[in-house]
């Protein structure tokens, strides 16, 4: 029986548009776009030029400071465009995909027979190292530094999040291969956290891992919360983080010898007519998915990811790296609500008790619902922040960029996503995730 840790603080946001548990098919698009911006903490250097032909699994670009860290193409085809923005920053690399995907063959490998160094090299060479994240700084893991432990989260508690049990069906062998590979990468332990509801055998019966159950509302599924309860990160230490979905992709590399970046993606949100799961690779254009399947006549917000941490895309957008969820909600910029401060409307949702909670699920739009203010209300962030950290004081230390204070208050243990709920409930409407991201980036520059 796994250890169980119960999380009390947090919030389950009752959002309309829960995903129906049906696999509806596969989505492909002629053009696939990869945005280097999705990978935190790297400076991309191109490995291809427009007109080049690539196979799935061949590198598109690499990390400037670590040329061995390659980023694989999810499809085979011809590179059609490399779009750059200000200061020649690469916005995206566009590939015209072949009808049938031609994979680079990396050869099947038996993980058990490989050394840690060989496992690491295999993942780096295959261009899927980016699946491994790192604390501190919440960036793509630095391959040069051995992690104290590796933490894998086996469930997602974010609003409308996909059900890992459903997504991971039939991937038991890949999962185990992935866990075996991770175990070789650290002298410490591989911690796998699951929900009490998790039934997936690949997770429940995984070997080579320390299994822990986390019970409670969001953010119980955030790996940062799990680390904080299992074995917090100290200054000078590094841990690596992954989701179970990414572990399966790594396992696939060893079991099949190919880089298969296919994800099972949940299409969710109040404005989606038919929700459900679709299979697609990262970078796939989503417009065929939205066509005739979303509310018409009002401005919509398309999100790759969940409504708390996802990236804003448009109707022409693509599935961004790392996401297994696409959400569509109303934009709300056409709504003129009178006297909101006195409203008793049942359409308004608040986590606190300043509004009556009358419904089970709410249709929320992207409005801030207030103006930005200084931090006024106390104990607001703490209620949704289940870590042994003072979030408000840490935020203030980040704003002041007081490095000593940030370290003392636990900056190395957090990622922007851990502050997502704080940002949601914030009466002062501050962009907390943005503040944390900037703080982490600045700190990393300062320290490394």
């Amino acid at each position: 029986m796994a250890n169980r840790i119960t999380i009390k603080k947090g919030l389950r946001i009752p959002l309309l548009g829960e995903c129906e548990e049906t696999l509806r098919g596969t989505v492909t698009s002629e053009l696939v776009r990869i945005c280097p911006d999705d990978f935190q903490g790297i400076t991309p250097r191109l490995a291809v030029r427009a007109g080049d032909t690539v196979k799935a699994g061949a590198p598109l670009f690499y990390e400037k400071n670590h040329p061995g860290m390659l980023f694989a193409s999810p499809v085979s085809g011809v590179v059609t465009a490399i779009e750059r923005g200000e200061k020649r920053r690469i916005l995206y690399i566009e590939i015209k995909a072949d009808q049938t995907t031609d994979y680079v063959d990396y050869g099947r490998k038996n993980v058990a027979a490989l050394s840690g160094e060989e496992v690491k090299q295999s993942i780096l060479d295959a261009g899927i190292w980016f699946l491994i994240g790192q604390r501190p700084y919440d960036v793509v893991a630095a391959p040069g530094k051995a992690p104290r432990d590796i933490f894998v989260t086996g469930f997602d508690t974010a609003p409308l999040a996909p059900d890992y049990d459903f997504v991971l069906q039939g991937q038991e062998a890949d999962l185990q291969a992935g866990f075996d590979a991770l175990a070789k990468l650290t002298a410490g332990k591989v911690y796998l956290s699951v929900s009490p509801k998790t039934t997936c055998k690949g997770l429940r019966e995984a070997k080579n891992v320390v299994l822990t159950e986390f019970d409670g509302p969001h953010p119980a599924g955030n790996v940062g919360v799990q680390i904080n309860h299992l074995r917090p990160v100290n200054r000078g230490e590094t841990v690596w983080t992954l989701t179970a979905l990414d572990v399966a992709i790594i396992g696939r590399l060893f079991n099949k010898g190919i880089v298969d970046l296919t994800r099972t993606v949940a299409l969710t949100g109040s404005e989606v007519k038919q929700t459900g799961y679709w299979k697609m690779v990262i970078g796939t254009e989503l417009k065929s998915l939205f066509l005739n399947n979303v509310t018409e006549g009002i401005p919509l917000r398309y999100i790759s990811g969940n409504p708390l941490t996802g990236r804003r895309i448009d109707a022409e957008g693509v599935l961004r790296a790392g996401h297994s969820q696409v959400t569509v909600i109303p934009e709300g910029n056409d709504v003129h609500e009178a006297f909101g401060w006195a409203s008793l409307s049942s359409r308004r949702y608040s986590a606190g008790c300043t509004y009556p909670t009358l419904k089970k699920a709410y249709r929320m739009d992207a409005r801030l619902l207030g103006g930005p203010r200084a931090i006024i209300v106390s104990n607001e962030y703490d209620k949704v922040f289940p870590m042994d950290i003072y979030p408000e004081q840490l935020i203030k230390a980040i704003i002041a960029f007081n490095i000593d204070k940030m370290e003392a208050l636990g900056i190395y243990e957090v990622a922007p996503e851990d502050f997502a709920l704080c940002e949601f409930v914030d009466t002062s409407k501050l962009a907390l995730q943005h503040i944390v991201r900037l703080g982490l980036d600045l700190l990393r520059k300062e320290m490394e």
């Binding site: 608040s350 300043t354 408000e392 002062s428 409407k429």
Partner: protein
């Protein structure tokens, strides 16, 4: 509503950058967002937001203050007509209180909001809502007979020197309303204490004209016991302005002389219920103020030398500004301790010190204002120690 929105949209360009009335853009924004929820959508970070904003929070506090304000207004009339020896209906009493109170509220809001709007405009920021609460608190904690010019000066002083110089709402160290009161208390003590200021004996715009009855005494119950010569509490009785003894229920429901807001413990408890039920006010702070006060009273009772030292705890809680301070002043999130553990300590010390000032200070019978202001100054220190414990835990983990 739609016509109004269209009109607002029509005049909006005047207030934008380059518009003729750009110097009033914060004012325009304040009114627009008062009327309509802003429809700006999130650019970074979370895509959905909680419906609670600063306006909602402040509205709830004002709602919670209303019972105390209404009962207080009624009591102003009640005390007045008792002083001139006339029997009137409940409504007449209330009306008298209302028109006596309104000018003070208007002056406080006009002066305070005027400064807030001007400062917001200068800083090119949105107008913060904090003063909506302070502006109603100020007249509620002043004696009813405070001259309007004093209300104006005190409000201006506290908004500028207690709030705006620190950076505005959310940055102030001391409670703005209490600074206004403290300013008047130290500048014009004769208008802030004694037995002449708590009952309005003059008519208000011609209403309730009459002569004060013989034997009238306008001292508050706390004032009476502080100046009493009685050697023990059993020899002492509280009396109303006509000389009749006061019952516990008079004190609980608020039919005693005192500042408008503080008299009715019953109405304050209603307000406390609203604040706690909506989660806007911290029950921890409120409860710990009463615990701190209770502990202090029991200690004083044990070593009692005179009537006030012998006074039982429920009199302390019912009289003066104790309950009002605990519910509405100590819970101000900006000037209170911000950590949950800190709130227990913060509230406890307020109660403790308030009672100590009441009992041991011969010059001034009420200690709540000074206790809260003192603890406002110490709140950051309390938080420092609470947070330092967390930091030390982390440092220890690193060393291990």
């Amino acid at each position: 509503m739609k016509a109004l929105k269209n009109y607002l949209n029509k005049i909006k360009p005047n207030f934008e950058e380059g518009g003729r009335l750009h110097w009033l853009s914060s004012t325009y924004d304040a009114f627009e967002t008062f009327l309509f929820v802003p429809n700006t959508t999130s650019k970074t970070g979370v895509h959905i937001h909680d419906a609670r904003d600063s306006k909602r929070t402040m509205s709830i506090v004002i709602l919670a203050l209303l019972p105390a304000l209404l009962v207080g207004m009624y009591n102003v009339g009640l005390q007045h007509y008792m002083a001139i020896g006339r029997e009137v209906t409940l409504l007449t009493s209330f009306l008298y209180g209302l028109i006596a109170m309104l000018p003070q509220i208007v002056v406080s809001y006009v002066v305070g909001l005027g400064i807030e709007f001007a400062v917001a405009q200068m800083k090119k920021e949105e107008v913060a809502e904090g003063f909506l609460v302070s502006g109603i608190l100020i007249p509620m904690i002043l004696p009813i007979d405070t001259p309007l010019w004093m209300v104006a000066v005190a409000t201006a002083f506290s908004v500028i020197f207690a709030k705006e110089v620190f950076g505005g709402t959310g940055y102030n160290i001391f409670n703005v309303a209490l600074i206004a009161r403290a300013f008047l208390f130290f500048s014009y003590p004769s208008k802030m204490s004694g037995d002449q200021v708590w009952v309005r004996t003059a008519d208000t715009f011609g209403m309730g004209r009459g002569t004060v009855i013989d034997g009238f005494s306008g001292a508050t119950p706390l004032g009476q016991i502080a100046t009493s010569e009685a050697g023990s509490f059993s020899e002492f009785t509280f009396h109303g302005i006509t000389g009749d003894p006061l019952s516990i229920s008079d004190m609980f429901f608020g039919f005693i002389p005192g500042s408008v807001g503080e008299v009715s413990t019953f109405a304050i408890l209603l307000g406390a219920l609203i604040l706690i039920a909506t989660g806007v006010g911290s029950w921890k702070t409120m409860l710990s103020v009463f615990i701190g006060g209770g502990v202090s009273i029991l200690l004083v009772n044990a070593f009692a030398q005179n009537a006030i030292m012998e006074m039982p705890f429920y009199y302390h809680f019912l009289l003066g500004g104790f309950a009002f301070g605990a519910v509405f002043m100590a819970t101000d999130p900006v000037t209170s301790a911000r950590t949950e553990k800190g709130k227990w300590i913060f509230g406890f010390l307020i109660g403790l010190i308030a009672v100590a000032i009441r009992v041991f200070n011969p010059g001034y019978p009420e200690g709540m204002m000074l206790a809260i202001l003192l603890m406002n100054a110490f709140a950051p220190l309390i938080d420092f120690f609470v947070i330092d414990a967390n930091m030390k835990r982390r440092a220890k983990r690193l060393a291990a």
